[in-house]
Amino acid sequence: MSSVSASTTGTRVPSIDRKVVVDWLGVAPFTIFALLFLIIPTIYLIVGAFLTPDGSFTLKNIVDLFTPSILAAYWISIKVSVASSLGGALLGFLLAWAIVLGGLPSWVRNGLLTFSGVASNFAGVPLAFAFLATLGRTGLITVFLRDWFDFNLYSTGFNLLSFFGLTITYMYFQIPLMVLILTPALDGMKKEWKEAASILGATNGQYWRMVAFPILWPSLLGTTLLLFANAFGAIATAYALTGSSLNIVPILLYAQIRGDVLHNANLGYALALGMIVITGVSNILYIMLRMRAERWQK
């Protein structure tokens, strides 16, 4: 409420200026908060990525990111994020399509949307526990396959604490997110388009290939990118699932923050910068694609 005191005490200032000052004072708390807890910490890391420990400019930290161990961490992170976002996008699209255009009763739609709201927030450590109980060495599915089909899942090379296991686990929050974002986009597909296409003699396949897909692809690709960024920054599930055995970037950064495992504080900043660049680029592309997608929703 700093605006109150400003408007009563600042009477000597010309009135136009006073209004401007009061206007800006109203957003001062928010601005200060955002600066202190979001913007300055981020800028501090970004700047630190270009400094040597004694404070002079260098590109060495960025170059050092391209050492094999760090590159491997980025590579496995990107692989898990790509796989879980593509898988999540595909299954999420199928589910969203089923409830919007599949002619299912409305309770299925409401049920799935409610469940998606829950499941997209059911991430972190408990999700890792759930999958350990399902696909871990003594998990329900593993035991079921062993006892009923004499099939040892773990002899096939499958391991929950690996790229594949992490991908399957991440899809648990990726699919619902896809459903939640894509359902409105599919709702925006007008019935008239399909009717017009079929009157002109188009088959169902032609309608999807030549009408629906060209309209939907920005939403599909954009949401997939959002899922990618979502998976790329996640740490809690992976950490609870694999400890530090799977070296994805967030876990490497976690270890670096706790104990400087890279033996160079500024290299840690560069690692963080790399994460910001990757999630930043995918989010910018997402926003651009969403603006493109919204052209059809007006």
């Binding site: 300055i40 910490p41 501090y44 299912l104 408990p126 648990y172 963080a272």
Partner: protein, 262 residues
């Protein structure tokens, strides 16, 4: 048409399998604590663990503080931007969405370097100030959800008319804010609050790196050391998420049937 419907049901079936099997497995696993029979021993063990009560209580308190202070920050800002600085809306919206772009682990990394005990603002210096920093970090994490929820609720009321009406009746800024704006955007405040609760209650990264005794790091610790308790805890965490999201749905449905009038 018929083939389409079969494919739709098939998709739903696959989805249900994928979503429900892990839940069933977790529940089944949590009952296995006693050899040979199903029992609630794991739950009993969890609920009798002092650390469970302490960390859960701590995280609940943090969530509550996050919601209260977050809303005190977000509601006046959203109101002010709509009333006086409409040209700043895209900027403020962009800033509120930034926590979705910058990973939480990067944000907390910045805090640790910026607010360490030898800096100008040594927030990590004592327990009390670290708690404050944790609440601020949670406000940052939930900013995108809180701001969007409140801003959506504010769209349905005419902020300018409400303000002018209140002013002409002699209301001060405090009265306008707390007796006029807040009650009218209550649906947004509540949905923002429930989603914040769902995010904060099991949050791991911030609490762990700031070294606070919250529920998320406790979960991780139990997961590394115990066999059946983690599944029981996962069921409890899932129930809390259900509860908060269920309440959120209830609030938004209630609001749809009785829209706020300006």
């Amino acid at each position: 048409m018929k083939a389409e419907r079969y494919l739709a049901w098939l998709s739903i079936l696959i989805g249900c399998l994928y979503f429900f099997v892990p839940l069933i497995a977790t529940y089944e696993f949590s009952l296995r604590a006693r050899r040979g029979v199903y029992s609630f021993d794991a739950y009993r063990s969890v609920f009798s663990d002092m650390a469970f009560r302490q960390t859960f209580g701590y995280s609940m308190l943090m969530a509550l503080l996050t919601i209260v202070f977050g809303m005190l920050l977000v509601v006046p800002t959203a109101y002010w931007v709509r009333l006086r600085l409409p040209q700043m809306r895209p900027v403020v919206e962009f800033v509120t969405l930034m926590p979705l772009v910058i990973p939480a682990i990067v944000i907390v990394f910045g805090y640790l370097r910026l607010y360490n005990s030898s800096s100008i603002l040594p927030l990590t210096g004592s327990n009390t100030t670290t708690n404050i920093l944790l609440v601020c970090s949670y406000i940052t994490l939930s900013l995108p959800y809180m701001y969007r929820a409140v801003d959506t609720a504010m769209r349905t009321i005419d902020v300018r008319t409400l303000t002018e009406a209140a002013e002409s009746l002699g209301a001060g800024w405090m009265t306008i804010m707390f007796r006029c704006i807040f009650p009218n955007v209550m649906s947004g405040v509540l949905s923002g609050a429930f989603i914040t609760l769902a995010i904060v209650i099991g949050e791991f990264t911030m609490a762990s790196l700031l070294g606070r005794p919250a529920f998320g790091p406790y979960l991780q610790l139990v997961g590394a050391n115990k066999a059946y308790e983690p599944s029981a805890l996962a069921m409890i965490a899932f129930a809390v998420t259900w509860l908060s999201m269920g309440l959120l749905q209830l609030v938004s449905r209630f609001n749809r049937s009785a829209p706020a009038k300006a």
